[in-house]
């Protein structure tokens, strides 16, 4: 027996079992739907998909079981209830409603709440070791935005001199109105993602519209630091519009 008997609340209205189970069902279906629709890739890492499916399936099965009369669902609320569940519990349905009204989009640059968590300069005392460069194909080396920033900003451009690089990102406008190519790098989810900005040096190339996904081919010029925001400057030799990648975020190499 417990040392501390559970409190009882005789005045609380009897729980509406079906509503608790229905809310749980909606929460479970939200997780499954996000993976089914692929929308989860705008929010979390691809590897989170299996956990969402697993968690969503467990909750869905439990909710359906309860609706079928197996295992009575209780809202462990605080007694201030409408319809037999606490008001707070009803908020579980909010993500499903919001994503039904409007599909989530991946983060865009140029907003303070993006820079908010990311305007720091990486700690130079931490020697991560360089992220390896890919072997060149047709004299062009694929490089991630994270690797480019890491080498440019913290390794004096190690391995970048004279190398023709190809990096994927989205066209954006920098603070000064100049054109940039931006790619967000994610550790865990979009809430901790940070943008890597690549400024384009002078060129006569056609620049696709803002928000267009592109492959930028060019050479590294310099690193630029403004208000502790670190960005990279490249001299473009080719900018090709591409289909949006399946995963809009780069996954940080060291997570």
């Amino acid at each position: 027996m417990s040392d501390h008997p559970e409190p009882t609340d005789a005045s609380a209205p009897p729980p509406n079992v079906d509503l608790v189970s229905i809310i749980a069902l909606i929460g479970g279906l939200y997780m499954i739907r996000m993976v089914w629709s692929g929308q989860y890739l705008t929010l979390v890492r691809q590897s989170s998909g299996r956990w969402l499916v697993l968690a969503g399936s467990l909750v869905t099965v439990c909710a359906i079981s309860s609706l079928a009369g197996f295992g009575r669902a209780h809202d462990h609320g605080d007694g201030r209830k409408r319809l037999g569940v606490s008001v707070t519990s009803l908020l579980v349905v909010v993500p499903l409603i919001l994503t039904s009204l409007r599909a989530p989009a991946d983060l865009k640059s140029g907003a303070q709440n993006v820079r908010a968590s990311t305007n720091a300069v990486a700690d130079r005392s931490l020697d991560h070791g360089p992220i390896p460069l890919n072997d060149p194909v047709d004299a062009v080396t694929d490089i991630t935005a994270e690797n480019l920033l890491d080498r440019a900003a913290y390794r004096n451009g190690e391995g970048l001199d004279g190398v023709v690089l190809k990096v994927t990102g989205r066209i954006a406008r920098g603070d000064n109105g100049d054109t940039t190519v931006v790619r967000f790098v994610m550790n865990c989810c979009a809430a901790d993602a940070y943008p890597v900005e690549i400024h384009l040096g002078p060129s006569s190339l056609h620049i696709p519209e803002v928000d267009t996904w592109v492959e930028l081919v060019g050479t590294y010029v310099e690193v630029r630091t403004e208000n502790r925001n670190v960005s990279v400057v490249m001299a473009p030799s080719r900018i090709v519009a591409i289909e949006p990648p399946e995963e809009p975020y780069e996954i940080a190499a060291r997570t």
Binding site: H76, A111, T118, L126, G129, N187, A252
Partner: protein, 307 residues
Amino acid sequence: MIAAVLLWGLVVVRSLLGRGSSSVAWQNAFTMFLATTTQALPFLVFGVALSGAIAAFVPPTWVARVFGSSPLSVPVAATCGALLPGCECSSVPVAARLMRTGGSVGPSLAFLLASPAINPVVLVSTAVAFPGRPEVVVARAGASWLVAVTVGLVWRGQPQPDLRVEPHDHQPHESKLAVFVSVVNGDFVYAGGFLVVGALATTAMRTIVPVGWVDGAALHTITSIAVMAFLAVVLSVCSEADAFLAAAMGQFSLASRLVFLTVGPMVDIKLILQQRAAFGARFTRRFVPLTLICAVVVSTMIGEVLL
């Protein structure tokens, strides 16, 4: 909660109707809210599933023995936290279930505070984020464990929190599986609601509070500690990812970043709301300040010694 919901109403309206550059921030807020919720939900389900398993399959006598009233059970419970490989969203329903199933309040709270900070996943991610600096991992584990044990011991003599009402006791004739299903549904719905509120509040803070001001604070020891503690509470970053954010905050000293790593898994907006959901407002009003002060003091001292 009402403020968070109202702020979020503004976010939704702006993101649905807004056009032009200013709407980008609101659209990002929309994404961040959903990302925070979606990332945390599997961990929450893991926690409520474990809670259901404890309720259904673990004898109360066993829980009472391991998480009993002996002073030794507090450090034992904190060490047991290493066995729960999740983030802070998992630990609240588990700790509440331990108390319901016969565990004493001190050990249960020690488990609550320690598990998000000292489990293997978090420590490995810390080691990866701070390569070649094993002392950061040791300092994080040591500070978190010490805070958990200290708060657990302080709370040993305190009354048990006002655990949320479960309208009906589970009946003896209910099968173990039926109890499991019942607890998973009930805990998920109630804790999930507070997770949503916490994600709303966190996103609203990130969108409203200008963060450029933190750079100046990094120059002074006291302000850098205060700012890192504040950021830990406001940003509510998952404990499995917070080390990478801390590693990038190179303008702050390692000691102040240890404060960030210690406070975050124990006191943050969405966690406070979940604790309030599980243990009641009266408990949270005392528990949160005690934990925050203890975490700041202990991590500052350990940081100054080890880092």
